[in-house]
Amino acid sequence: MKQFATLFAQLDQSTKTNTKVAALADYFSTAAQEDRLWTVALFSGRRPKRSITTTKLSKWAAELAEIPDWLFDECYPIVGDLAETISLILPPPRRLSDHSLSFWIKYLKSLADVEETDCKTAILNAWGQLDTAQRFLFNKLITGGFRVGISQKLITRALAKSTGQSEAELAHRLMGKWDPTTTTWHDLIEAEDASADASRPYPFCLAHGLDGDAADLGPPADWQAEWKWDGIRGQLILRDGQYFVWSRGEELMTDRFPELSRAIDYLPSGTVLDGELLVWRDGHPQSFNALQKRVGRKTVPKKLLNDAPVILYAYDLLEWGGVDLRAHPLQYRRALLERACADLSDDAPVRLSPIIPFKSWKDLAEIRSDARNHQAEGLMLKRGDSPYRVGRKKGDWWKWKLDPLSIDAVMIYAQSGHGRRANLFTDYTFAVWNGNDLVPFTKAYSGLSDEEFRKITAWVKKNTQQRFGPVRQVTPHHVFEIAFEGIQASSRHKSGVALRFPRMARWRQDKSVQDANTLDDLNEMLAIYG
């Protein structure tokens, strides 16, 4: 655990990407294979099955630290992380051991079916031989969530550095359903046939937001324009007579979209499509609001399946006839995709997302302004001769979104953030006017700089009117421009509306409370865009 703790400290303390990559690469070259495998697993969100509840863990820790439960409960929000809180309050270890990361993972696994008293003894025994940093990691193995700002890209870079394999190859190997308890380092990273698993997706190619002038991209003829759909990015895999659906977040969503199973009847095995999952009705894609009902549903009732049928609106072909097409230029892949989709009947759960023809950037800008009428968020621009790249590489794919919707609102509650921002008030509730009342309508917690958060934190402390647990009601004073991507009616909210992706676009220090928008303004937006 010491080696893993050292790695973790290096990653956690550095803000420099190169330092992180070097630390990881060194670890991948020196640590035991089993530990490497688990490290990749943990940093990519896989964690051992939880064998102990956090309630028990907290209780045992408080007991051992000889502090009452209420005091533990006070410490937790101040630290902002349960695993860390426990690691800090425990008395110092009696003797230090140096077992490996995988040792402790197996140790925890063995506690799955153990009586509570034995389980407690085992946990206390572990705490008794780990220092604070190692205890924190040990606790994290139980509670989950190793958030150290280690992206998949960083891991693949470090692996490439350590193994000499290409980043693209490694990224592909790390995708999919692999499980650190059943695979080995060799099978995952080194073995010849890495695509043995039929469900394995390709890493998604991601676009950057276009902030400059589209005309700077060069001749329009070099570019392909498409609508940027407001759905869920998905990859549909048809192999060995089976189908798999992956989200961009590398989540297997096959069971959530049973209607896509029929794709097997329309397209041959050995096909992988990249596209947007959308609710389709009356020959048109529907807004994200329609899809919202399907999101988060693990199983889908029949009625919902009828009311909100989902299709894959395909815009790229990554595999055809079992052959990886990603190195081919987009025009080539598009031509094959169009041929593959040419004869699809209207019942097929796959449709071809159209290309938008345009002659000049000026024309295209005009087309873009009409995006909301097409249930789109804007445009995608893709370079015609570009390969399908891994991850977010600048230059070939751009999203040219519409400007977000926005409204000026008054901050009325504040709450402290988590993790890095545990000591700042960063989570605010905003209100708009309804007559003489301020009606809360959304929360937002991002969009400001640390400096601004610090200023507001100092202000909140001096202007707290009332406390409700961690939440502070503050004097209505500050106005913020809230940007958001969509709006829909909601009976769960007092205001009657719910926003999509709300964030603070600007702190409007130039505006007074009276200048904030009204509920009528929100309702008007709802009528237009809801």
Partner: protein, 337 residues
């Protein structure tokens, strides 16, 4: 029958009616007894100051020409009807707890204190009393300090690794107290030690009082930065990352503070390293100090006052929160003050 307590908490700060004086007052008063020279305790504008002989030079430096009377640790003065004496608080050189006695009743206002002997400050001494005013900057059970020698080893190892990579090691620390403590922990064999003007000013004063500190070089505009690759630079946190600091080229920055115990703070400060070291008592230190006074009435200021006072009541003491001018919970104000 009610009578005025020996020390009262007023909008000006802690007041003793029997002696007509204030302790660490916030607003200008006629007579101010000062526990130590940090800015939130020693303020400008009072008519008469009283502090320890060890604290006075720094206060003069910070506050300019002031009318200040000094007293040695343990020496008893009579002010009005009150007997007053200053006792080591171990917080920074010259820092004191102030003991006030009238008749048989004893109060102690402890200012800021820590238990561990840092080798520079006169070590903390428990003072028996009936009423004890305590800070609670780190009055939560997740704050546990490791021995100074352990932290010294961590800092020197970090410095050595910076030096090995031709990087300058910037260590951020408050100019009075923390900076000199860190200085005394450094191993001068690793390389030269440079200081920011704000810190060097305090060094000069303390050296003048007979404190032994390692040799330092003032990092002003005249130095040749290239010569000092591998040096350690002590600077106030505000100077880290400034144009002055950037002149040194490749560098790492570290902060030394009790708040570094929390990962969220470590990450937010965005330095390369955080060392957990404080001039305030940790959780166990606060509890043991309170116990050693034998006091039954505890007044909690500065920090996690609500939570700490509740806990003291839980363990059978009569504790209450008393107002501090600043809301104490903030992590952004310097802990060292």
């Amino acid at each position: 029958m009610t009578r005025t307590p020996l020390l009262t908490f007023t909008p000006n700060g802690i007041y003793c009616p029997s002696g007509d004086f204030y302790i660490d007052p916030w607003r200008p008063v006629r007579r101010a007894l000062i526990t130590h020279g940090h800015a939130d305790h020693a303020r400008a504008g009072h008519e008469h100051y009283l502090c320890t002989d060890l604290a006075a030079p720094v206060m003069r430096h910070r506050l300019g020409p002031i009318d200040v009377e000094t007293v040695a640790y343990g020496q008893v003065l009579t002010i009005g009807d009150a007997q007053v004496s200053f006792h080591p608080a171990g917080h920074v050189p010259g820092s004191a707890q102030i003991r006030v006695q009238v008749g048989g009743e004893i109060w102690v206002a402890s200012g800021d204190y820590k238990i561990e002997n840092d080798g520079l400050s006169t070590p903390f001494e428990p003072v028996e009393c009936h009423h004890f005013i305590t800070e609670s900057t780190f009055g939560l059970p997740m704050f546990h300090w490791q021995p100074q020698s352990v932290i010294a080893a961590q800092i020197n190892a970090w410095w050595a690794s910076c030096a090995a990579n031709d990087q300058t090691a910037f260590l951020g620390a408050y100019a009075l107290g923390k900076a000199q403590r860190l200085l005394s922990m450094l191993n001068p064999d690793i390389g030269p030690i440079l200081t920011h003007t704000a810190i060097e000013n305090t060094n000069v004063i303390l050296r003048g009082q007979g404190t032994t500190l390692p040799d330092t070089i003032l990092a002003d505009g005249s130095i040749d930065h290239k010569v000092y690759k591998g040096a350690l630079v002590l600077a106030p946190p505000s100077a880290l990352g400034s144009a002055w600091a950037r002149k040194f080229g490749a560098q790492q920055t570290a902060f030394a503070s009790g708040w570094m115990q929390m990962r969220g703070v470590r990450r937010r400060r965005a330095g390369d390293r955080g060392f957990v070291i404080s001039d305030h008592a940790d959780w166990n230190g606060l509890l043991s100090a309170i116990k050693d006074t034998g006091a039954e009435n505890i007044y909690v200021t500065h920090g996690y006052t609500d939570i700490f006072a509740r806990h003291l009541n839980d363990i059978g003491l009569n504790a209450q929160v008393v107002p501090t001018q600043f809301e104490g919970e903030t992590l952004d104000t310097s802990e060292d003050a």
